[in-house]
Symmetry: C2
Subunit: 431 residues, 2 copies
């Protein structure tokens, strides 16, 4: 997967000049993109998907190098899982591109409009943001997803991946750029930063007015580092300290299935559950005990409060820190709460406003939970694992925003647009 040259030459020699070059190219690509109609952008997405499918063997070869280096570097199993490109994941990357291609063009959509009393026609139209910088860690699929979503929304993308996935990212970026050229789009509409020198990130994050938005995807420390340096606007994707609350009225089988799925289906992801809360009645009824035993039986280490430890002797006592921890592993914190209000308080205090679920048979409990919990994604009787752009029908996602401004929860192509107010008059002046 080394047939394509890096985006621009000699990244290592002069990082500031290299970054300036990236931005100049991105700005030129953005201007060119503004004239590319939606059908042509979609054709490029499909061309990229074809190239990714056709390159499966070489992509997996490149990925094998990354995985080997990762194992040597002692990456955790969760990290290696994020890094791996299985045939199914290559196919799912290509399928996500095609799904995005099949969506309506987010650009040009009139999202509000009216004729003002003075006869001026007012329209609020979706337009591209401009140049978007995505900074990510080990998951190589982000290279394709981010490129596709930026492209769908008419933005020029600058992608800065982690060094763990360097070979995989180069392979995917080569497919992307070849697909762009195939359909007559500017190759520099997607640029992969050709150095893992951290100085490049600082350089790019200072380019106010020329990089319109930065999206860091990765662990909390990456995001904090980006926020600390950034002078361009950042949409943040902090950790997922997700909760499942098992209400008094929960159906037993449903509670078992949702708790197990939320915790064990895939542990290294942000929408996995990290804490289970049980209504006190479920301790009385034996439901809490059955859920805890099922988790332990599935290989999960339970760290519980005193009441949980009384139900499940195999549980370890939880510390204060456990309530705030995103384990990303087969570990769960567990607590018995007095009632729904205490569950809501716990989640609002310790949670990360990412994804939180209730299992309940009562409509009033579901509504109170939704109204009470300050979270981007609120699940009633389904797994936290559904909090995902593809599941929501957004066609992959640029990330799951834990911010409240601009975008919240899974961000799709539309969240990579802004809007413009356009007023058409026939000579009106203000009196």
């Amino acid at each position: 997967m080394t047939q394509a040259p890096p985006a621009v030459a000699d990244a290592a020699a002069d990082v500031p000049a290299y970054c300036e070059d990236l931005v100049v190219r991105a700005q030129a690509a953005k201007q060119a993109l503004a004239k590319v109609p939606g059908a042509q952008r979609d054709a490029a997405l499909r061309a990229i998907a074809r190239r990714i499918r056709a390159s499966e063997a070489s992509l997996r070869e490149a990925n094998a190098k990354d995985l080997e280096a990762g194992r040597e570097a002692g990456l955790s199993p969760a990290m290696l899982d994020r890094l791996a490109l299985t045939p199914a994941r290559v196919e799912s990357i290509a399928a996500a591109l095609e799904q995005i291609a099949g969506q309506a063009d987010p650009l040009g959509r009139v999202i509000d409009g009216r004729v003002l009393p003075n006869g001026i026609r007012l329209e609020k139209r979706r337009v591209a943001i401009g140049v978007v910088l995505i900074i990510f860690e080990s998951r190589p699929n982000v290279t394709a997803d981010a490129a596709a979503l930026c492209l769908k929304a008419g933005n020029a993308a600058i992608l800065r991946g982690g060094k763990e996935a360097a070979h995989s990212n180069r392979g995917l970026a080569a497919c992307v750029r070849a697909g762009l050229v195939e359909e007559g789009l500017p190759e520099d509409a997607v640029q992969l930063v050709g150095t893992t020198d951290r100085a490049a990130v600082g350089e790019l994050l200072a380019k106010t007015g020329r990089i319109d938005m930065a999206v860091p995807r990765g662990g909390k420390s990456l995001i904090e580092a980006v926020v600390a340096q950034a002078r361009v606007p950042v949409v943040k994707h902090y950790d997922g300290n997700c909760h499942v609350y098992v209400d008094a009225s929960a159906d037993e089988e449903m509670a078992l299935a949702i708790c197990l799925n939320a915790k064990t289906h895939r542990t290294g992801v942000c929408n996995a559950a990290e804490t289970v809360l049980f209504h006190a009645d479920t301790a009385q009824s034996g439901l809490a005990k059955r859920v805890l035993e099922a988790l332990i039986g599935a290989g999960v280490e339970v760290r519980g409060d005193a009441r949980v430890c009384a139900e499940a002797p195999a549980a370890k006592p939880a510390t204060e820190e456990d309530w705030s921890t995103e384990y990303l592993d087969l570990i769960v914190a567990a607590r018995v709460v007095d009632d729904l209000d205490q569950a809501v308080e716990h989640i609002n205090h310790y949670g990360s406003k990412h994804t939180d679920a209730i299992v309940t048979g009562r409509l009033d409990a579901g509504n109170a939970f939704v109204q009470g919990v300050d979270t981007a994604n609120c699940m009633v009787n389904c797994s936290t694992r559904f909090s995902d752009g593809q599941e929501y029908g957004l066609g992959a996602e640029i990330g799951i925003s834990t911010d409240k401004l601009h975008a919240r929860g899974p961000m799709g192509a539309e969240d990579l647009t802004t809007y413009q107010w356009v007023l058409h008059g026939d000579g009106q002046v203000r009196g």
Copy 2:
């Protein structure tokens, strides 16, 4: 207008403790507001409007103190104009409150939703942001507008006005808080910061996760100071270096009316024009000359490029700095450009992405201008002065965002909301 006590006691003695108290009160008010239905919020807005109308005399008395202090402090005429509360402006503040009360509730609106293939019902619902901090300078109407828009959107507001308008702001805030109490809403849903000590701003801007959004309204230096200090999310309202471009095909009377209105209708406001650009053909045809003479005749100082100075001998030569200057005064920069493309380039290079207008008789020129100019508000054949929340039907505005993220252009109540994804299932887990 001193009947109401300040929001909390003894602001001067201990600024950090005072600010902490403000935020604790705002958080409590936010929780209480979450249970207040839209009709009750609207009733409070109407009660506030009644109290403002009833207090016109005392409000103007308070304002007179501010104006006198302002004149003594040597404020510019533009600044004094912003500060003044005329009877018409008091009425327009009250009317804006009632207009906001009459709008649909932005909360609870389902803005997207579908049934997913697995049967889960997905909804994207508008919810309040939480606690909003508004930092503003001399315009007292912001006290009422900001309070009203925050309240409409279910947010608790902390308002920090400039010392120039201290008496006026206290008077208006007293009306707001009395109106809240009258309708059974928490008084602390709107708090006016009771000190003009700048340390308070720094304290408040550091309260991440407890102040959800900060909106500075005022001059560029205020906004830059806020951005430099802020650790909470900021929506920026930078200056309005607005342009009017007179195209070759412009109607003469329309060009004259729009240029005059955009420049002279009210100079101390962000949507006033600061630069007029003329297509070269309008220099040939004499249109540029007539517009320039009309501006000069209206008392406007013209600072022009060589071609403008050739048309209007009374014009002074413009310096490079003039193209970037927001005069907020009876001064205008003027340039003759070769064509529409050069006008677009000029605006994208020197403009502030706020509001820019074209006067043209040609549809293709209008479309090319709208597509080419990267601006929040793009006017075709009408004055830049229409770029305003009330004109757009948003019912006053919290400001005019020059950001591209979250909100762009005039921000109304809806721009003070975020959304939450809510998923209702019946036991779905991810396979």
